[in-house]
């Protein structure tokens, strides 16, 4: 394509490439990913500070030790904070605008990014109580795509003091 006026010189061209790879989940993420295939959130606990990590990354960065066990958590939690995404970009798989929230599952000590639906964007708020909506069992697999989204579960909003330490 000629980018400079009055020039037929090729200066740039798009060359899409793809890379397929095998992801080795490792000891901590394996029970987490298998749990997702069964409709469960499975985290791990730090043996020193007792905090529960989900998704588990295998170690507690604060204490420098391996996290342990398989902590099955509730599939409901609290929106600690969020934004409304209203910008299109290459590779986007969700229709805009959408609500991207940090959800702190009950019993977890760290939040993770989740899609919130079944509520208008201007009614989402910090402290909103939400529950996971799972895809049908036959469509579930070892991926977070097994969770279609989170939606309000009707409980009263969580008190700011209950989640302010997770921001």
């Amino acid at each position: 394509m000629a980018d400079r006026p009055g020039s037929d010189q090729v200066t740039t061209l798009d060359t899409p490439i793809r890379l397929d790879y095998h992801f080795s989940a490792g000891a901590a993420a394996t029970p987490y990913l298998r749990g997702l295939a069964e409709g469960k959130f499975v985290g791990q606990r730090c043996p020193v500070c007792r905090k529960v990590y989900i998704p588990p990354r295998g170690s507690c960065p604060t204490d420098g030790v391996a996290t342990e066990g398989a902590e099955v958590l509730a599939d409901k939690g609290t929106v600690t904070t969020y934004c409304v995404v209203n910008v299109p970009f290459a590779g986007q798989s969700i229709e805009i605008p959408y609500i991207c929230a940090q959800v702190l599952l009950d019993g977890a000590d760290i939040s993770f990014m989740s899609l919130i639906q079944e509520i208008p964007a201007d009614q989402v708020r910090m402290g909103l109580r939400v529950e996971a909506v799972w895809v049908p069992p036959e469509e579930r697999g070892p991926t977070l795509a097994s969770v279609e989204y989170f939606r309000p579960n009707g409980e009263p909003d969580a008190d700011y003091d209950s989640y302010k330490a997770y921001l």
């Binding site: 934004c83 290459a90 590779g91 000590d109 910090m126 795509a145």
Partner: protein, 390 residues
């Protein structure tokens, strides 16, 4: 610090959406030649080159430093690449400065760049991963929820972010190298722009830029020689520090990260700074989204926690009558060649300390702070420059 180190030459390119007239090699060479010229030197005088850029996916070229060696006069010389995401321009300058303070080299060329038009940074920042939902929408999508948390925690009124967006764009009008020149900018214009990552408006976000920055760092002897040759005075390094922390850990304060506070404490101790708002004459701080100004005012100790928005709201950080002007160059909100953005902060304080910032010069700068952060606020780099030898 064992040996003294000073900035003896600076060079930057005009930031733009697309620099189609040059390759990456041409872009970095343009900045490097300007820095050498400013120092009264040529490539032959340089002992080593330290280069930085943000993740390689941003241009789709892995380890581009290998092919850039000839363009930077680095063939047969030591060349080092630094990786710390968006803070990399700052970290790169610090690595280069350490080669001088350690007494290893006399003159080190340091360069940082991004050519965003060669690929798609939004895409590169939003690649799906198997353990996470495919929700991340660029850097704004990551930082907007943290900004919302700051607004809730501090009780700041909604308009403060827009105030930063206007102030930095007004500053940019005084900087010919800035990417965005928006003479009609106003609170209304910002408010009327699309809310792309609620609570952030489009005009509260940084642009995507092509650009490069370069500096020549020299020893005491090299500084004296350059000053004799060019008549331009050096900007002395009074302190430098880097800190990092994990992006995700339970109990992390994402709004006011520990690594940033620790980094500031370290660099202030080295420079003898006890009251940053009074001790600095200006600062260049990495503010890619408007609300990061009040957040970093607190993180950097320019005020008590929860009070940063008041400084911004009162106009304290404006060149127009403020006591501690921040981002007189227009900052990252006006130019964001990601890998170079941190170095531009470091370079702009050198210009201020040398009295060479032109129209955006603050009168009588004796000491100034440069700060860069990157990734999910997990990398911090800072330096303090002054007119006096430390």
């Amino acid at each position: 610090m064992a040996e003294r180190c000073a900035v003896i030459g600076v060079g930057q390119t005009k930031c733009a959406s697309k620099r189609l007239d040059v390759s990456v090699a041409g872009l970095v060479r343009e900045a490097a030649l300007r820095a050498l010229d400013d120092a009264g030197l040529t490539f032959a005088d340089i002992d080593a080159v330290v280069i930085g850029k943000a993740p390689d996916m941003f241009e789709g070229v892995m380890m581009p430093e290998l092919y850039l060696a000839p363009a930077l006069g680095a063939v047969g010389k030591p060349m080092l690449r630094v990786h710390t995401a968006g803070s990399v321009g700052g970290s790169t300058a610090l690595v280069a400065a350490h080669l001088v303070t350690a007494g290893i080299h006399q003159r080190v060329l340091t360069v940082a760049f991004e050519k965003q038009s060669d690929s798609d940074a939004m895409w590169a920042l939003s690649v799906p991963q198997p353990f996470a939902a495919p929700l991340l929408a660029g850097a704004g999508g990551y930082f907007a929820p943290i900004i919302r948390a700051y607004m809730r925690r501090s009780g700041a009124p909604d308009h403060v972010g827009m105030k930063v967006a206007v102030k930095d764009r007004l500053h940019a009008l005084k900087n010919p190298y800035a990417h965005l020149h928006l003479p009609d900018i106003s609170m209304k214009v910002v408010e009327d722009s699309v809310v792309i990552w609620d609570p952030l408006h489009y005009l509260e976000s940084c642009p995507s830029s092509d650009g490069a920055a370069a500096m020549v760092l020299g020893s005491e002897q090299a500084a004296a020689a350059s000053q004799a040759a060019t008549g331009r005075r050096p900007a002395w390094v009074h302190g430098m520090a880097m800190r990092s922390e994990p992006t995700m850990f339970a109990g992390r304060d994402q709004v006011n990260p520990q690594a940033g506070r620790d980094c500031a404490a370290d660099v202030y101790r080295q420079a003898g700074v006890t009251k940053p708002r009074a001790d600095f004459d200006c600062a260049e701080v990495y503010v890619p989204f408007s609300w990061y100004e009040p957040m970093w005012l607190e993180n950097l100790g320019f005020c008590e926690e929860g009070q940063g928005w008041r400084l911004t709201d009162e106009g304290a950080t404006s060149m127009d009558g403020g006591d501690i002007p921040w981002n007189c160059s227009g900052g990252v909100l006006s130019s964001n060649p990601i890998g170079a953005s941190g170095m531009l902060r470091f370079l702009e304080v050198a210009l201020q300390v040398r009295g060479e910032a032109g129209e955006h010069q603050v009168d009588g700068v004796r000491r100034a702070l440069g700060q860069a952060y990157g990734g999910g606020s997990q990398f911090f780099a800072m330096w303090v420059l002054g007119t006096e030898k430390p």
